[in-house]
Symmetry: C2
Subunit: 591 residues, 2 copies
Amino acid sequence: MVRSHTSISNVVALIFFLVLLIIPSVQSTTATTIDVWPKPRLLRWAPLHQLSLLSPSFTIASPYDHPHLSSAVSRYLTLIKTEHHLPSSVNNPLTATSSPPPPPSPPLQSLHIFIHRLHAPLHHGVNESYTLHVPNDRPTANLTAETPWGAMRGLETFSQLVWGRPSRVPVGVYVWDDPIFPHRGLLLDTSRNYYGVGDIMRTIYAMSANKMNVFHWHITDSPSFPLNLPSEPGLAAKGSYGDDMQYSPDDVKKIVEFGLDHGVRVIPEIDSPGHTGSWAEAYPEIVTCANMFWWPAESKWEDRLAAEPGTGQLNPLNPKTYQVFKNVISDVVKMFPEPFFHAGADEVTPGCWKTDPTIQSFLSNGGSLSQVLEKFVNETFPYIVSLHRTVIYWEDVLLDGVVKVDSSILDPKYTILQTWNNGPNNTKKIVDAGYRAIVSSADYYYLDCGHGGFLGNDSQYDQLVGSDTVSNGGSWCAPFKTWQTIYNYDITYGLSEEKATLVLGGEVALWSEQADPTVLDSRLWPRASAMAEALWSGNRDETGKKRYAEATDRLNEWRHRMVSRGIGAEPIQPLWCVRNPGMCNAVHASI
Amino acid sequence: MVRSHTSISNVVALIFFLVLLIIPSVQSTTATTIDVWPKPRLLRWAPLHQLSLLSPSFTIASPYDHPHLSSAVSRYLTLIKTEHHLPSSVNNPLTATSSPPPPPSPPLQSLHIFIHRLHAPLHHGVNESYTLHVPNDRPTANLTAETPWGAMRGLETFSQLVWGRPSRVPVGVYVWDDPIFPHRGLLLDTSRNYYGVGDIMRTIYAMSANKMNVFHWHITDSPSFPLNLPSEPGLAAKGSYGDDMQYSPDDVKKIVEFGLDHGVRVIPEIDSPGHTGSWAEAYPEIVTCANMFWWPAESKWEDRLAAEPGTGQLNPLNPKTYQVFKNVISDVVKMFPEPFFHAGADEVTPGCWKTDPTIQSFLSNGGSLSQVLEKFVNETFPYIVSLHRTVIYWEDVLLDGVVKVDSSILDPKYTILQTWNNGPNNTKKIVDAGYRAIVSSADYYYLDCGHGGFLGNDSQYDQLVGSDTVSNGGSWCAPFKTWQTIYNYDITYGLSEEKATLVLGGEVALWSEQADPTVLDSRLWPRASAMAEALWSGNRDETGKKRYAEATDRLNEWRHRMVSRGIGAEPIQPLWCVRNPGMCNAVHASI
């Protein structure tokens, strides 16, 4: 991993740690198997591996008046005192000592929180580092962080240290932690299928347990417009799936606040000018090709009207488009305090604009589709920036093969590009062009892949026996992305150290053609956890070797814990494997 | 479809239907879009497409004293009166008339059940045909069936006709129905991961809603032995995952009775002689290679000790093996009244037996591994038959490349072979050898495929960027089997009409390496529904054309209904597609 964030406090922490190393009479390099996910950058358990009980009157002392931190402290205190997690692995040293003699250390009475910059807002790049010290000679643990958001990360770590009934906690533990990448996100598409506010909050809760910090909310798209906007109420009234499948301003406020309570930023995406068929229900005049069959039988693939069923693109040549657009953006910006705004701009499909007479006329007068898109961007990008937002676009706006803008109209200062095609190659193109990048490579991070296609009347599944026409299973981005595939991906692959600093992080993505609340948790978890660790502390051990073997056992344990916390994460192995670490390996682990 | 079951009652029904065709003044070939899944063999809705209300005092009149039928009648009456299903498609003619003028027909007061052979047991091949007539001129519908089990199928169909609030029902409807294949099953592996009794009952409930009739319970395997047996209590006590992860005799009784109440046979599988590692916890002396690393680092693939982690095979050369085995089978036969018993016999792995000194000695004296297996089969097959059971084996017992028995020792009268390898080729081999076949082709019917591999420390996922070493996603039976792949498979492909009669039907299978209760419903449904219809009424329309296009819309609706019935079936399309039938097709449907 090429990236590292250092700050004064981290240097102090490191010095403190070095002192700790010197003081004990026994120096040991024994690896601990305390399971914390994502694995901290540094976790040291003193050689005796002592445990202590958690006092029944255990408390978390936080002297700060900070509503979100207070909420987190209260939540974690309840969790820590009531979870009573039992490790599932019979070989886990914690389990092995599940009936220990009364621990020699005094019961842990409290965790004290110290924060240096209480009022640091939860923005991109905010310091999330923390140190956690659970001593073995006094009943008070200390959690020190630069910001409340780092303290939340430390609280999560502490919660994962506690286990058993009565609750035990390892003592003589020191943790120093700091994410490698500042942007660790999850995209959820709530347009193709609707998710309730509770589903979204549960997802944010699970994200925070995995120390992820960005919920990328792909709110609107062609299938539905579920966001109820005060200035444009017709868009949801007519374009949503129904009154019971909308997000009200109060819902959004609840979700944003919930995010803050969990250290998770909520970045809204209003995709445009493509993926806007649903806008046509209220404003047919600003949308081209709406409600048409997406791929007319007589057309070539490249002449289809949309990347997938659900047609419609905003018409950049109609002035009214901008009137509606600006009302939308203005409302959204008010609802989401987050300084990043995602403006979409993916998959602008030539065939759709070509159905419109005004665009036809523009083209026949020598104009190009890219000029049509440039007009749209020129009208909208400065407006969004004027609302004090940094704009995230999908890479297509610059890298599409047909319809794209010149990079001169997108100031890198206010523009971030999110890559999804072509693996590390497009990441490289983006940073080489001087833009910051968010990595959502479909080859690694798309959680919907490998589940077949969703089109009806698709004859490829009626395959002749013995043929392999659907060897990929009919999913455009097959195969299924296993947790291992996700875990092993190096998002700065092939970049110089300098260029790598432009990679802000990554996002796993759940597009909802074949997902809705019935499968939400199992599609996301524990695969999103794999990215969460890779971006937090990396996917390699101290020697630089990929650590997926030992990660298997830890992820089993973490999945088990997530399920008991109410997150319906899918199993990655039979329970027999969970209980017999290493026995289900492809080869003997060399760790 | 080459198979058809006719009986006197069906002929009578057909004559009745022909009379109905003649009587009305208007003859119409208008296809109805009433959504019943699986689609009945024949469903006719009189041309006026009249609806009636369901009377608030609607009742089901069944004069029979039959506990399972009574249970079904009571259950369906509650469902029919309380479901109030609302079709999700805006184009559905039922929805289009969701606020109709008061229907002209009188409210439907009752459904009368007539059964010809009340005491027909729920065995393989039992008649499941029924006719259902909901007239438009009187308030009484009639359901006529040969057996109680056919009546249950008809009740399910009737329940799917009722929708809306207040409840409406189409009248002038005639249904004749009869399954093409008598064996329509679902395999669940409860050894690799455990499922609660409630999970199993919910699965049986969902099966019956899909008119499936065989729950193939793969109870035991190497990872765990969850079945608590009175004669051999140690097997579960030591070989299960824990006291809370066992099936007691009372649990089994509950499940078997629940199956009978739902017209679902419960066939137990006790896999042997392979897949028996868990037996070694109680009886290490009868199991070879137990608890060894499955694929020693120095070994070739063909010398591994088990097909997958979790080693152990019963030792056929140890007399004690048969003592324990017979205790087990004797108990199981008492717990499961079903006349079919599944004895496993898949994936006998040479390397495992070769670790045993007595088998080594047998081999060095000129014996073969196949002889070892033959000894096992000769000792066990006649015993199972003596308990009045027909034995199902996996095809391996006859078709394995290395360890197999001679067909002369398996009397086709008492033997059925279940195929899982090599698509239709092995089905053909089985029926050509004169055996009855159950089709579970891994290429079409394995619901766990395409989800990556479950092995730890598997370096293939750490792929070099741009390589496609895991192009299949790391699952041995990738890709994911979509509902379309399942729906389109013709299980008698390439067989003569005569040989095709030996194909009893099929089973979708959920192996549980990467499944447990968190994902059970979504892995099974609605994909199992696809097989359910293909085996009930086929996958082609009246013209012989595959009907997957129109099936898409019906399956969407059925999935929607299953979810509202508490079955967590996964979505197959965005709601927009569900509401706009045909608009998400790959090409325009020609239906």
